[in-house]
Symmetry: C2
Amino acid sequence: MNNGRFAIALHILTLLDKANGELLSSEYLAGSININPVLVRKELINLRNHGFVQSKEGKNGGSLLAISSNDITLGEVYKSVRQASFLGHQKNTPNPKCPVGKDINEHLNSLYNDTELILIEQLSKQSLADFSKRFK
Amino acid sequence: MNNGRFAIALHILTLLDKANGELLSSEYLAGSININPVLVRKELINLRNHGFVQSKEGKNGGSLLAISSNDITLGEVYKSVRQASFLGHQKNTPNPKCPVGKDINEHLNSLYNDTELILIEQLSKQSLADFSKRFK
DNA sequence: TTCATCTGTAATTATTTTTATTACAGTACA
DNA sequence: TGTACTGTAATAAAAATAATTACAGATGAA
């Protein structure tokens, strides 16, 4: 995985699972993760778009899980935060005159895709509930 | 994976495999990858330390594979370039007063380690020779 | 023996990516 | 109608990557 967003997303979701339906504010979530509340709110947008959480605006607002933590796998969480590809999208632009350079991004991408599938499969063996259970 | 170094390392190794024992200069390698030669030389240090390549200094110097591309798996290449852990080492320092924050890095690390093992296993199914074969 | 062409490596700068901060409009409760 | 939230944009700061410059040392060849 590629980015710290996975850790943040999973942290948020774990806290929400533990909260058991109680609304948690982005300020509170940020306090546990120890990052800026705006980052949390941005990640919540994404989690909301994926149907994992619901938020309520206004006073006494906050967020909660929209579905059971049994129905969220870590693979889905991973997919929700990954951008483009796996090992970081291809950022090199190799020399097109070189027979290796010309085709390497294509071959790397197919390698990454294959590997990422295995990764997601592995992560999908575990639900958010399983992960959350580890915390007393 | 975590970093563009995997792509660079694999690109270098593929070029060296194609060169079939002929010495390739860092300048030439950098030209195909389209990155700075110093970066290539730094990556070569690492590949050398792992026994994958050999270099020769001085005029007409350069690098070549130190062992057969059949004996280098992509898993080993991955391991040679990864730093610390998988999804990027834990950089958050969550709130230790929070029961989730207190333990999350530990649980994330064990999740990452388990997942990375699967990843390496998957990559190890393919040798450098297999990868290199894909280029005409 | 000296020039040219390499590697090895350090130091510095530039670029890109990530994260934090500030600010404020809109919503909802009391 | 004030207070405590979310939503969101804009900007700044920090961290991570990559490029550049520079030069010493190795090696081969004229």
